[in-house]
Symmetry: C3
């Protein structure tokens, strides 16, 4: 019984990670490899030659095809055999590697691991700030040795900033601001609205002036596994509300988690912002700083995973602050259950 | 079915290993952490926050309490919640981390992993030379990748000194001296009495004169898992007997084994002696030398553990020399069996 | 159900690897150790002392015997106890370590892991070029983290040379030459006969003249697991045929695979040749070069093993080129099945 939804789009890579050379990455337990064709379209294929299972990612690229480096079986971008090991033999079109639906959007490469017929790009979660005009997006990637859902717990409750990120982004005000948690369809929101507070250094610099601001933090969970956090400040009196707040400076912390297996996941993180969008130096400095902060999360998530395994009889508790994470997990669990009860589309197992 | 006794005192650490910063160590399969309070008393607590299981050993010390470094739940030295992650919330006294009975004695920190009601300090095995007036005790610690009972086998038969410790403490006389093994209550003794032998270099130096001596080696096994070895020499004619021998120089090799899990254990070793007790240089040199000797035992115990796993159909044999180890293992097995048959004290599972 | 034949001779080591000091090596899941006696005969013994299971390979050699480095039990080359830990005790002849039949032949040390009564040296596969007069044999050893049968697949189809050994021995002609596969008793042959081709550089140099040659590659599989490959060239018109071809230069690529466990094996490789047999420099250069080529095979075999484990639902496919490997695997499987159905020789379990 897997702990993830399989009929769903998962981020497999940053757009910049995939080029003509194959990239190997295991997504939801499936070894895959990814490469770009000459038209820059992306191929996602099971990373095992249908002949002898050598990883195709060790193979040789030829045109839009891949040739296995073992016996030279050549497969097209559709996975179908184009040339047999013995050149004199006619290619057997019945020989093929499994290919996966793949879409490039929001700077990410998305792949669908479940029933191919259901791979509708409209189901990709809406990460609009990652590619909207007037916004700048950058970030990085970590492999994290924990169940991907521990990252959801972590991101849907920012209380942890004070302790995990002491000395970086943690701030005592956050502990005192009331939080509001609510569910909208299959999304979960956790909101903190902090009116009339002193602008913390990062935001004062972004706003380019000191003084009192209204500040917000709005975490939003989306299936199968993204958390985007709307953050920013606006000068007091500019009219910003928790619902509408484009009067000052605004960013979205972007977090996308993709299961690798039951106890590890791929973590794609970054920041989309609507200020200083042409400043490459700031972009690079901020990415470096954010990477340092998220390494602290990685340390905590991996320690929790080990502790869960070392204390098998202990249950996790949930306090008030955990409501966001708890609801997000419920939505994941419910979606898995619903999917399991649906009769499989005919031919899906193909 | 565990291979160790759980209602028993185990050494968790040297006294000097525990200070205000938490020390993480797994005792009998239970992840624990240890720290000292302001009054120097020691706290032993399960190393997992009751909230999200992050190891508390990663936490922040505040007064006598520990604050989890994840969401800031603050627990008192009794494990009970003192402050919630959201400061505005009232502390829920029902939230608590498991704490363990702990006693500091004989330079060691002892912890009780079983039923808390039965944790009587009078049950701590008697290692009097480790803290008696007129004696000096020092030693070290190794983690050893073997079942802890392999160390008992090793220590209750000193025949191995000749081969394992060739070039250090091994001596051919030991092979020829008759040994006497007997059981007294739950203790096992293995005695070698070597009257009128040439003093070996180490003991001649300790005695500060050459010549014929009476020499002894008396191994004593105590539950749950300590072996202390009474060793020394007295000048011939001074009246020393195997029962009473304070006429010359005398030491106790101290060995305490604590299971970490089924295939690894903590090994606390040292030497308590009644000569040159104020000589810090000798103490340090001897500890270094003894550590080197015991590293040879570590190598052998770990090789045995691997060999047991690689030859699953082979049984261990026991020869005459193994009688001490065999009897010690019987006492451990019987104590485990007795404990299992006792009805659990009410509330013990709390 | 093991994947190998146990009543069979396996290569445990090169002759040069075994000297007076014990060599530890696990053969077909059995930890063994090997050493030479004073008459240079070889002893193969289970690598575990019958007393406490310490590996005997850690022991001390004395005459033709081995003394355990733990308590000093001394065993003769027949595995029988010669001296007890306590010298005063009479040696108990019932104490013995298991010994294995061992034969030195063709530069290798062969060991029999199954029923001792059936260990007939006549069953050793015929690797005559490794020790025949007028031939020179040299090679090396790798431990490979794959099922040993993946190496059989690899060697019984040389199509892989083009891709795996690009830049070393791969050549396009090989892809176009027709292959002929046939079974003779328990042996499998895969033959390529390439008449009137340009001599490739290596063979032109061996032949010491340029020009058209007849070339051959004949793979031969033998139980329990050897593949020897008859390779060479003869000048066109010299009368060489696929059946008889000593008119030019000839070599045998020697490959012997011995299971270590289900997912790893010992690989003994080399080249026996009938030209330049006294040229030590060429011998050394060739061995180095061949080792480089076979490291590429090691990389592929280990990647396949990992891929098989990562794609548990995928089956291996077999194409025309795989017929040799497929038939060799059938012969292994059939031999295992036959052996399993035979009533065990009485006393075999001794």
């Amino acid at each position: 019984m897997s702990t993830w939804l399989s009929n769903a789009w998962y981020v497999a890579a940053w757009d910049r990670e995939v080029d003509s050379r194959p990239l190997a990455r295991t997504i939801c337990g499936v070894p895959m490899m990814f490469y770009r064709k000459l038209d820059r379209g992306i191929v996602a294929m099971r990373d095992a030659c249908p002949h002898r299972l050598l990883p195709l990612s060790m193979g040789l690229r030829e045109g839009d095809s891949i040739r296995c480096r073992y016996h030279g079986l050549k497969l097209g971008p559709d996975g179908v055999a184009e040339e047999m090991p013995l050149r004199s033999e006619k290619a057997n079109k019945g020989i093929c590697a499994e290919v996966f639906a793949v879409v490039e959007r929001y700077r990410f490469v998305w792949v669908w691991v479940g029933e191919k017929e259901k791979a509708d790009p409209a189901l990709i979660p809406d990460l609009w700030p990652c590619s909207a005009k007037g916004w700048r997006f950058d970030g990085g990637y970590f492999e994290i040795a924990s169940d991907y859902r521990l990252a959801v717990d972590n991101l849907m409750d920012l209380t942890h900033e004070t302790y995990v990120h002491t000395g970086s982004i943690g701030q005592p005000e956050i502990l005192h601001a009331p939080i509001e948690t609510f569910v909208k369809g299959e999304q979960v929101f956790v909101r903190r609205w902090m009116p009339g507070v002193e602008a913390p250094p990062f935001w004062a610099e972004a706003l380019r002036k000191q003084g009192q601001v209204d500040r917000w933090q709005i975490c939003q969970f989306m299936l199968p596994c993204a958390v985007i956090i709307d953050v920013g400040v606006a000068p007091v009196g500019a009219g910003a509300t928790v619902e509408q707040h484009d009067q000052g400076v605004r960013g979205f912390v972007i977090d996308v988690m993709t299961p690798q297996d039951e106890t590890s996941h791929h973590y794609f993180w970054g920041m989309a912002r609507n200020f200083d969008i042409d400043d490459d130096g700031f972009t690079a400095r901020f990415r470096q700083q954010q990477g340092g902060v998220f390494l602290q999360d990685k340390e905590v998530l991996e320690a929790r995973q080990r502790a869960i395994e070392a204390n098998p009889h202990m249950k996790l508790s949930a306090y008030n602050i955990d409501e966001g994470g708890t609801r997000a997990r419920q939505i994941i669990a419910r979606a898995i259950k619903v999917q399991r009860q649906q009769p499989e589309t005919e031919g899906a197992a193909k």
